[in-house]
Symmetry: D2
């Protein structure tokens, strides 16, 4: 990786983006290149104690700040941007989680509009042990505590949307965005179809860890120091976000109701097998039906996100996405 | 209405907007004022015969052109814009309806992603009898024809969204937009909460008529000459689009799944009764449960739209929204 | 109607059915025949004052008592039972509506399982003016009252389900059941496909009136004296409930999410036009898209119910369902 | 386990049950007791080659045959039946999977009623290598094959429903039934709340393996020889199915839309933590939000099923469900 350009970027407070699309690029990237960035937490760093209630300290719509966007040189509609996460490291030794009125999967919300009283608004601070790579849950009532493994991840990574749109950083969709999947961890390559010239890539919303589905709507939110490699795959489109690790290929569908998110992810996985692996569509349907893993990502955001995760060992060997994951993986290893 | 300023605006081909938010205003309106506008059809006028297939003649995302946006002087977040439709008149003597691949409520779509083959792509031309105020259905097969009453309406009327967003003209949401409700006809006042300075009001998507739900995704699309009065209600917010006629108050919820659109509309109606009519929330819940009409608007767009429609004769008398509907209705009568 | 057999049936307290299917017939009907029946209200008559809370006075699952089932002589799977409502008359001069914990469209429920506190449990008594055909809303707080027109209807009418199932009287599905549509009023003929020998028809759940969607989950519940004519259409199946009046044909889809209920009703309407009216399916799709009315029935029950309602004046003339509605309508007129 | 009564039951062809509830018990079990049973595959053994299409060889509703029901002595409403799977062994050296018209998650269905043509109806035979514990995928087109690990499981295990209902063996709900989760494997204890005297437990629908979500609607279906231990927990209710292994507690929610299945499972998990582990509800909400795994079970059945899976190592130690899993686990070990 010594031969790759390295761009460091730590935004000033007034340099964050709050949308996918619609923000001016903070830097230009000539792919492949390494980005070393800082991302602020989803609260813009404003929840620091149990008395910092989101409804009081945050100022909507200025939540979920994005680092970026980065203009990817040469990226045009019909291409795919590849983002390989080399490392994602909490920049603080604590994170915060909260409930937020009218947000979360187990309460009425602005969209699931009900007459019930909202749930209590609460904050939980989680303390990290970087050596042990754990984070500690401390309840608001009672004295049971537990250390869970950290699994640092980015809730958001996305490009500018299609159709001339600008979307809030809280939205996951075909352009990526706020997918909130624990699969977006170090070692993962994320593929995103390019909708506008330069792609306009940004990322943020670091989570020290998160359950599948992000039940209460908020993970263990923290700032991150993240190293990623950005590459460009010319002439290969990517209709919905696709992920790749050494062991899996994955697709991410985002929609409501949740079964549509599932359908998108499963259909895109099958189309991937048909398109890049040369399988018959109906055979791919059968293979996926018996082999797929289907962990939920979020059931709380503007769109819900469902992951379809296929072990590579069940698939024919194929140099999908131009072998980009293997190449970036190699670059990452070379660096460390 | 002689004392109201009248603004005429017929866009040039390159003057249409394709989004809510994100487009520069075409004119400034000092409310109350009359707008006399031309709106092009949702196909940008490109479907003119049975051989003009949408997938071939339209150029995405340049569909559903909006006339506007108009900058409403004095409009600020927290205010409400009132749009009273004085007349909506087809500007041609025919309209077009179509099927579109992967669009409509009875087919797999980009979001309800399936493996089935798409439906056939077809065009139906509807011919209007302006004197009789009817439009004629002619099937593609067989010789049964029928004249249905025209019910000219606008599928879209909206303002710029909140949260720094820019949305495609195909989207209905809290900012209004592509709600596709037959209730948006002459005689109706539509209230829209202001999200940005100047509100940025636009409208389009004229339908000579449309069934409730817009089953195949496309109404009898036609260009319109429309007269509307625009007014501003300072200091009164409007969380979701509200409509008023001489006989009804209505709310429009847009979301997926469809039950959430229903919940939004019903909850907003109840909150309206509690807020402006002084009813207890649970009493309003009961009154609405027995008195409401619930026609669907669309079950095909990015969000589905459900209407909650309450006869005024079931309600206490109250000068809701500052009595704006009655006042604009009077202005409209004065004009004609 | 003088030539039709008349069966009167007023159940004893221990003669009601609580399910569709699974109950022994209370009488045999040789179609066509007239049934004159009494139906108890959905609370089994136990909510009689504002202090009679459902959770205290009702004994689950003994709610929504059904009058029947009636064994229809000659009915076999593949046939259709026709039920024409001649008159539906409240048997009391009052009705009751309530909220019920974890039930209704604007609250968390057993299925939309949330952590919020339930809504307050309340009762509203509605008093009827039979001469004026109105029912009076009296709020729990405040002194606004209003008289609404009565629209007596049956929330439930159904036959035994297919697939060896027995379903609670609270369920609407392909067998009919608890559809809760205001369209089930005097003058309507309801068609139900037969699933088991004798069909096992029952009905109940009288409503003095109900809003579309039945928002809080409970209409103005009352006992009814109802006259209906039952007929049998041999060799004609009916996949989902279909309704007919002098002016409309209608279909009723019941499912979750609500868009699936809509899809069922719309698809069945189109198939009806294709099957009985000889239209091309795509032409029927277009005609329905522009002509249909889509009032919601309920958005609260185990399945939600959506109605597709097509004016007959938009359709070719066709003797659908063997001209049964016209024939039963004539019999009804002959009687009165 | 030598001291437990062992009941062997291999049904004759006419002894299977096709419903949960409504069938006479085939045997009485005095808990705790061991059951050694044979279950036929979901096709009733009728799909044996690639030319055996389900629509031709199966006879609805006689699909998904259940072994049972077993009358559990002493079981009353308010109790919980525990079913511990000791071993689940394919009784044949092959299994079959298929597509079925109007069934599966990536096609229009009877409920997601569309106008598209159905997908092709196909059969795939999977051959097992019992020594290697693998099953072989052979495509219909092309020559790629792959061996996947077997993960023998039961798609269905359930008791009679509440509310006087009888449900098809294809239905998953609060009574268990056709949940189709790969978690129902050897080593798992499944808890089911009792709704009727004797509980009426049955099981079937063996799968050699299944992907999460069961995308095409059909797993690798095969007959099974299964050993289970049945126990009864008096006076402890279980509102939705709960599962326990050495490492996890799990809940299974079944509903439509899929987000409601998710909500049920997550809420029940939280209530479990509050009820049996003594946690504050809001603290449990937070702990689950960060710790839960959320694999989908099925997105194809009458209700969809979502699993909430919590590692025991994140929880306080608590003798949940009277320590039944540990005790049955011990009995199972003693046997082998």
């Amino acid at each position: 990786m010594s031969d790759l350009e390295v761009i460091e970027f730590r935004p000033e407070r007034d340099q964050y983006a709050w949308t996918f699309g619609g923000a001016a690029p903070v830097a230009t990237v000539r792919p492949p290149a390494v980005l070393e960035v800082f991302t602020e937490d989803a609260f813009f760093g404003r929840v620091r104690s149990e008395t910092d209630l989101v409804s009081q300290v945050c100022e909507f719509p200025f939540v979920n700040p994005q680092t970026g966007p980065f203009y990817i040189e040469g990226a045009e509609p019909g291409d795919t941007v590849a983002v390989h996460f080399v490392s994602i490291t909490p920049a603080r030794d604590w994170g915060a989680s909260t409930t937020i009125p009218l947000f979360g999967s187990l309460t009425g919300t602005h969209l699931t509009a009900l007459l019930n009283e909202p749930l209590p608004e609460l904050v939980w601070l989680w303390h990290f042990d970087q050596a042990a790579q754990t984070c500690r849950f401390t309840p608001r009532h009672g004295d049971f505590t537990v250390d869970m493994p950290m699994n640092p991840m980015h809730g958001t990574v996305g490009v500018a949307p299609a159709s001339l749109e600008v979307r809030s950083a809280l939205v996951p969709d075909a352009f990526g965005g706020n997918m909130d999947t624990p699969e977006m961890r170090a070692g993962t390559t994320c593929y995103l179809g390019v909708n506008v010239e330069g792609a306009l890539l940004s990322l943020g919303d670091g989570h020290a860890r998160q359950g599948e589905g992000e039940t209460c709507g908020v993970a263990v939110e923290t700032a991150m120091n993240t190293v990623l490699i950005v590459d460009l795959i010319k002439g290969t489109p990517c209709p919905w976000p696709r992920l790749e690790t050494d062991d899996y290929i994955m697709t991410a569908g985002s929609a409501r109701p949740l079964e549509d998110a599932f359908r998108i992810a499963q259909t895109d996985l099958i189309q991937w097998l048909a398109g890049h692996y040369g399988m018959d569509v109906m055979d791919a349907y059968q293979l996926v039906s018996q082999g797929v893993e289907a962990p939920l990502a979020n059931v709380v955001d503007v769109n819900y996100t469902s992951i379809a995760k296929m072990p590579k060992r069940y698939l024919p060997s194929a140099p999908v996405m131009d072998g980009t994951h293997a190449r970036l993986r190699e670059s990452a290893r070379a660096k460390s």
